[in-house]
Symmetry: C2
């Protein structure tokens, strides 16, 4: 066991009745530095699992007990130093920044494959392979299946058992091809007969596997707990069933260091949920998650009230079509919480405006977000003969933005200290500076402008090493050491930046 | 004489004292339809001129009188039907649209050469030649010389006589090369000795010529009466001198049908002028101009109060760096006056953000402006070895936007009825419709998006001829006749539009 690793105890217990509802199991983990009580969960076939993430090194003892087992189970383990690549969970650091628990700054360079864990196993393997070669250190995905444009096939498993229902006619499973684009034709009414009190463990075991594999790749799993793209009636679960589902999720996935909780995607267009529901969900997670993983709610039209105490960061979707991440610093100033742009339109060529911007524009929005002190997420929606679109299904990347985002990420990681924030600049540039050395490390980003030269006003009291960064062609070119007002020659292309570092 | 042509009577009169101040001359023109009294002006060497634009066809009689002449001069002329290309002055039509006096809709496709009439005569000739081959039907330019980046040479003439002053040392005229870029070095203090009560008629005769030539080319002359780029002290003229100057301008140029009055460029950064000054200037022009030419005030940071009764239209400079003409319909709704974007950044590659956008972006801003019911102006600021930049000096166009603006203009002129306004559309498109046939003529503009297809919702009760417009490559491709929800295949490029016309 390593610090911030995932310890798991599997114990046999009662399986009569509905073990998901009828029995409880908890684990109490104690070391010199912490004592933590966590809920376990039922994993079918009489097996209960209790998972725990040690936040410290050293010896831990544990007791597993509850109505699910005849007698408590006790044990111990040693948590050792984390191995390379394990920096612990991501936390809010310095009010508006993110950092891993070991203090390493975290620049959240996300991507989105909403339904990838509900695709074929081969496609999931390809997605993981793509992710392993990508710059992305966070991925957003849903637990529930998704019904939407390009997403009209049934998932490979459902999150709940179809206990008492009529059962599903296999002939109806392949309802219609994905190629039924918007506007959608009506779909047949079906009674799936879900028993929302019985999670389908086959479904969640696959998520166990994928979240663990993401952890091993150093990728945060931004788990979307609910969403509006429902044809299965899951948004009509009772409040009690919904709360039980959320507790099950926390018990099952809370011990993975790479987990973030996203209460919902586009919460505000789920008609069956009220403001009180969202508050109750948020508080439930905050109270049940002993690790206090990052937790937020993602909007469609109306931003959530990010000032709520259980909201750790701002999970933002752009609401203006023209200005997106340009608002990053305004959001940071408003809520004093990290700003994470989880939807700023995707590189692609589908009909709708959220899925047909160029790679250049997506990369530009990334630069705006990070230089203003925020974070941004990618997605890709290129039409494909096989109807596999990265944004929902995963698979392979076809676009041009990912290598440029990787280039940006390497530059972000060169920031001295804890991170970046917006600095004052001229009206036509975005200037990011190191929060811990605002005068000594600055990047001037020129976006869509294409100047052939730039007048740069450097401080008079020191020498600055100036570099020209071509954010699209991914080059960094030295431009001498200067002080005071300096004319910097540029190639006359768009998407240039100038970095000035005090010598 | 043709209707809306310029009638001019030259009479000899008194030349002792200061004829600009000491004597008055007016003309009274009468026909069956109108009686108009206009001020004449002194043009040096004992000659007074009285200019008049007949607004009707038919016989006119006139009387020229005043203290400048010993006895009234009378005469008559016949105003005949206008020749081709003479549509009369541009007026506000239908509250927020523009039209020529003969009813022809006017889509104001402007450009900007602030100081072109103060450049060498050869360069001015080249500018006129360029304009004659361009799509532009309006040009903004200054009367006063301009001192600014790339504008540090003295003008070929000054607008006022240097009557009582010390005179100008010829060695100082070429103060420094234009190449003294920002930040500007200090310039020597000079006493030009201007007599602001004595317009320099040589200066204004050249403007006579240029405004007439523009008129013959069908180009509106958007005359900028004041501006902040002053090193000659003209912004320190007394209120009386300023009012006399404005009256002189109205008397001299009001009878040209193509004149628009722009009280100032960037009025709000002229520190010597107060809000009361601007109001007095505006009212003075409204009261003295019998033709009520279009009149507005152009901002830098703060928009003028366009609700003032003498303001005919909104002369807009973008104040947000990212969203510019996207605000067109909001301005129209706010003031119910035509929205004319006179500065939305220029195609070019100089250091500052107002002068280094791409041709693609400038053309995109034009489409946004016109489809939302407004108008837009062009400018070009490409660096040049000879320091001739179109935006200020004129000369030749080097960029790529003008042919695309010409293409847009041809499409605008195909609009049935009086013009365009914004229609409701999906969030990722701008839809312009014909104000007189909103359901029957619509253009969906997709801007920076690059969809490979588009779901178009046409009315069910009629057939629509659909065309794909590539606004950059300047092609119009038929895409069939459709009704209802229709999938339109697109090439997957940016800057596409779809036009639907009821058959």
């Amino acid at each position: 066991m390593e610090r911030w690793g995932m310890f798991e105890a599997a114990v046999n217990g009662k399986k009569d009745g509905n073990p998901f509802l009828d029995y409880a199991i908890t684990g109490t983990f104690a070391s010199e530095h912490e004592t933590v009580k966590v809920d376990g969960f039922y994993d079918g076939e009489g097996v209960y699992r209790v998972r725990f993430m040690p936040s410290y090194e050293g010896k831990y003892t544990y007791t597993i007990a509850g109505s699910a087992v005849e007698a408590p189970v006790m044990g111990e383990f040693e948590a050792v130093a984390p191995t390379a690549g394990n920096h612990g969970p991501v936390r809010v650091a310095g009010e508006t920044l993110l950092a891993y628990a070991d203090g390493t700054p975290h620049y959240s360079v996300g991507t989105t494959c909403y339904a990838w864990v509900n695709q074929s196993m081969d496609l999931q393997a390809q997605t993981l392979d793509t992710l392993s070669k990508s710059p992305f250190n966070k991925i957003r995905f849903c637990i529930f299946p998704k019904f939407y444009e390009f997403n009209r096939r049934e998932p490979i498993t459902y999150p709940f058992e179809r206990g008492s229902g009529e059962g599903l006619d296999p002939a109806l499973v392949e309802i219609q091809a994905n190629r039924a684009y918007w506007p959608l034709e009506p779909v047949p009414e079906m009674d799936y007969g879900f028993d929302y009190t019985r999670p389908n463990v086959e479904h969640f075991r696959r998520f166990d596997l994928r979240i663990r594999q993401l952890m091993e790749l150093g990728i945060e799993a931004d788990i979307i707990l609910m969403h509006p793209y429902d044809r299965w009636g899951m948004n009509e679960m009772s409040a009690a069933a919904c709360d039980a589902y959320l507790k099950y999720m926390v018990a099952r996935y809370g011990a993975f260091r790479n987990v973030w909780w996203s209460l919902a995607n586009e919460y505000d267009i789920i008609p069956t949920k009220t403001a009180e529901d969202w508050e109750r969900y948020g508080q439930l997670i905050a109270q049940n998650d002993p690790y206090h993983h990052l937790c937020s709610v993602h909007n469609c039209i109306t931003y959530y009230d990010f000032s709520r105490p259980w909201v750790t960061h701002q999970s933002l979707q752009r609401t203006d079509f023209y200005k997106t991440t340009e608002y990053t610093d305004e959001f940071i100033e408003k809520y004093h919480k990290p700003a994470v742009w989880d939807e700023i339109c995707y590189e692609g060529d589908i009909s709708l405006g959220w899925g047909n911007i160029t790679a250049q524009e997506l990369v530009r929005r990334f630069w705006e977000a990070f230089l203003r002190g925020g974070h941004a997420g990618h997605g890709e929606t290129y039409l494909s003969e096989d109807d596999i679109l990265w944004w929902s299904h995963g698979g392979a990347l076809k676009g041009e933005s990912a290598p440029r985002i990787a280039f940006l990420k390497r530059i972000l990681e060169q920031t001295p200290g804890r991170g970046l924030r917006k600095a004052e600049g001229i009206f036509d540039e975005v200037v990011g500076c190191a929060v811990d050395a605002p005068e000594d490390y600055r990047i001037h980003y020129l976006g869509i402008c294409q100047p052939k030269y730039r007048m740069l006003i450097l401080p008079e009291d020191g020498d600055y090493e100036v570099e020209i960064i071509d954010t699209w062609n991914m080059t960094i070119t030295p431009a001498g050491v200067h002080r005071g007002a300096t004319r910097i020659e540029l190639p006359g292309n768009q998407y240039m930046a100038i970095r000035a570092r005090r010598v």
